[in-house]
Amino acid sequence: MDFNYTDTQDMLRDTLARFLADTYDFESRKKMIASDAGRDPGIWRALATDLGILSAPFSEEQGGLGGGAIENLIMMEELGKVIAVEPYLQTVVIGGGALKAAGGALADAVIPEIIGGNVIIGFAYAEPKGRYNLANISTTAKKDGAGYVLNGHKAVVYAAPWATHLLVTARTGGSQRERAGVDLFLIDAKSAGITRRDYPTVDGFQASEVYFENVAIPGDALLTGGIDLIEQIVDEATVAVCGEACGVTRKLHEGTLDYSKQRQQFGQPIGRFQVLQHRMADMFLEVEQIMSMTLMATLKLDLPAAERKAMVSLAKAKVSRSAKFVGQNAVQTHGGIGITQELAIGHYFKRATMIEGQFGSADWHLDRYEQLTLSDGT
């Protein structure tokens, strides 16, 4: 058993942390979000070219540094510490992960472009009615000669306004909720017939409703693997979001601790009050358990599907609940100032809140865990 990071992994974390410390302070982040694009494209370029770290989770044959899920965890945790609005999850973890798993000519062509910072991917999987069931989709991809024709509406596609490509789940066969017949396509975001309604999200990102109307896509846009592949990459993404939660909740706890030492009421720092000491101790317990569950799930991503799903669900359920506890108590301990836009703490709280439901709420994941491990009553 070994929970140590390698020297290379430590170096990756240091490189990114130092870069973000220089570029991603609270005021700079505010300016990026307020700008027309809603981000600073220079940051992404620097991650790709100056730092060269978008290559971290890709194999050496693909031009990467030979890493994987642990590297993604490191990246997500550090990005979470500054509540970065960078499309790393969507582009590298999800898009890159799907291409790595599916392989083939499309992967060989696109992965170097991801590493080079030229490709940004939006993951169009959610639909207005489907909630968290990845197979409950009505977007269709009909075979048409050598290619397909795409029709449908995808909901809340993070990073879509910035995307060069969309990774789309669509039905090539089967009925509404059937697992068979769900496929994954990587398509040009500028394809004719795609329209978007763009909007900001409550946690500072940019997202879109994406509509496909008779969008003709080439046959080689299909990433083979079907629903099993989709579930695998969503599990990887779920664990990556847990990694982000490690950074976000760590900062919520630290910020609360600092504030409780500075804020004076009744002639003493409020951190001297036992009721707040116990609360901050409890927050600390939750942050540590978020870290433990995230590492556990990261190390189990290569297990057979049923075990992988069960353990990812257990982790995400715990992370969702703990993120809520840490976020709510961080705000409560700050008092009024915690609900304003003025302090960073409120912005971390907003992201923590969105993490709770991303890729499934605590209830949904506990339910999935129960069905996989407890349903036969033994």
């Binding site: 207005p128 809340v156 409550v202 009024g336 209830d363």
Partner: protein, 397 residues
């Protein structure tokens, strides 16, 4: 002891229900459903309808313009207004400074201010908290020094709700720096148009402008606008906080909130079934109803006690704690019901903007409302302070 309404009470309920149906302003209908931010005119339109009817301040003594309703009638009133989705009235005049003025004020103050609170002519705000004085309110530093027949006030207040609209504010100020903290505070009524007052917005997490900083520089306030004796303002402040707490339970509004969650969860699909049939979600709704019923009957016992002459005491802290926690859980469940559509940040319809909302309508403001309502366990004396009050005043610890 019984829980039934009498025939007279049922007749009263029907009268109230009919009145609301016929008189609630058309332009307000459906507004709160969408979590809209309401304008000053919105708030005043309903206020004025009730003022005309004589129902705007049910709890006030009849001699000052109250209705003379029994606690049961007041309960029916709050039930019916919540049931009809009426907007709430701004509490700063009606349930905060009004009772302070009719309890502690001079005949001149009563004659001048109470009718204008009832009519809605004056919009009030509350100058209590300061940057360094939140939970420890008695440490406040805004200073008032007497100069002839005026006080000269200097300092800074914060979290002043809706001060951007206010005509008048009630302020706690320090008039004796040498006395023990609570004994050097006075209660002043301040015309917000007085030179030297500056109101600066504070924007909260959902993007709303509800609260403000109020800066006071050499603001001259006539001594006749002090309520009660000099240095005895803390008595008014404590009286007001107890009043504020009892209204803060918000039972009727929370009942309506739970009903809305049920309506949402009947139509919102959870994969292949309505969300309300999801056992986890349904259990949370049931638990909310359990706790809300416990709160409701605790409040009813308090109201009945009031009818027998027991003023709202430290027990009202219980109503504040449980009421605020329930309000938060309602927003939490609404956000959970919204699923993916909790994420889009939708600012409501602007003038002439006919764009459809993103996702189901209830989802549009679910996250901002959830963020905003974190305030309920903080304001009106944080829940930590309320628990201290119970420990000290009720339990004698």
């Amino acid at each position: 002891m019984n829980l039934e309404f009498s025939p007279e009470e049922i007749a009263f309920r029907d009268e109230v229900r009919t009145f609301i149906a016929e008189n609630y302003p058309v332009e307000l209908r459906g507004k709160q459903d969408e979590g809209d931010e309401l304008s000053k005119e919105d708030f005043l339109s309903w206020h004025k309808v009730l003022a005309k009817k004589g129902w705007v301040a049910p709890a006030w003594p009849v001699e000052y313009g109250g209705t003379g309703w029994t606690p049961t009638q007041r309960y029916i009133w709050s039930e019916e207004t919540a049931r009809a989705d009426c907007i709430r009235l701004m509490p700063f005049g009606l349930t905060m400074v009004g009772p302070v003025i009719y309890t502690f004020g001079t005949p001149e103050q009563k004659a001048k201010f109470l009718p204008r609170i009832l009519s809605g002519e004056d919009w009030w705000c509350q100058g209590y908290s300061e940057p360094g004085s939140g939970s420890d309110l008695a440490s406040l530093r805004t200073k008032a020094v007497q100069d002839g027949d005026h006080y000269v006030v200097n300092g800074q207040k914060t979290w002043t709700t809706m001060a951007q609209y206010a005509d008048w504010g009630f302020f706690l100020v320090r008039t004796n720096a040498d006395a023990k903290q609570q004994e050097g505070i006075s209660f002043l009524l301040v015309d917000m148009k007085t030179p030297g007052i500056e109101v600066r917005p504070i924007i909260t997490l959902g993007g709303e402008h509800e609260v403000n900083e109020v800066w006071l520089e050499d603001v001259r306030v006539p001594v006749e606008n002090r309520v009660y004796e000099e240095n005895k303002g803390w008595t008014c402040a404590k009286f007001l906080l107890a009043h504020e707490r009892s209204g803060i339970a918000g039972v009727a509004a929370s009942k309506r909130g739970v009903e809305k969650i049920k309506e949402i969860a009947k139509t919102e699909m959870d994969d292949d079934r309505p969300l309300l049939t999801n056992p986890f979600f349904r259990r949370k709704v049931a638990e909310l109803e359990m706790d809300l019923t416990a709160l409701e009957y605790t409040e009813l016992r308090t109201l009945a006690g009031e009818a027998q002459g027991k003023g709202p005491g430290p027990e009202s802290s219980l109503l504040k704690i449980k009421g605020s926690e329930i309000q938060q859980r309602i927003t939490e469940l609404t956000l959970e019901a919204a699923g993916h559509y909790g994420a889009p940040y939708f600012r409501g319809f602007g003038e002439g903007d006919n764009e459809h909302p993103i996702g189901p309508e209830y989802a549009n403001r679910s996250a901002p409302v959830y963020f905003n309502v974190r305030k309920t366990t903080i304001y009106g004396g944080s829940n930590e302070i309320q628990r201290n009050i119970i420990a000290k005043m009720v339990l004698g610890l």
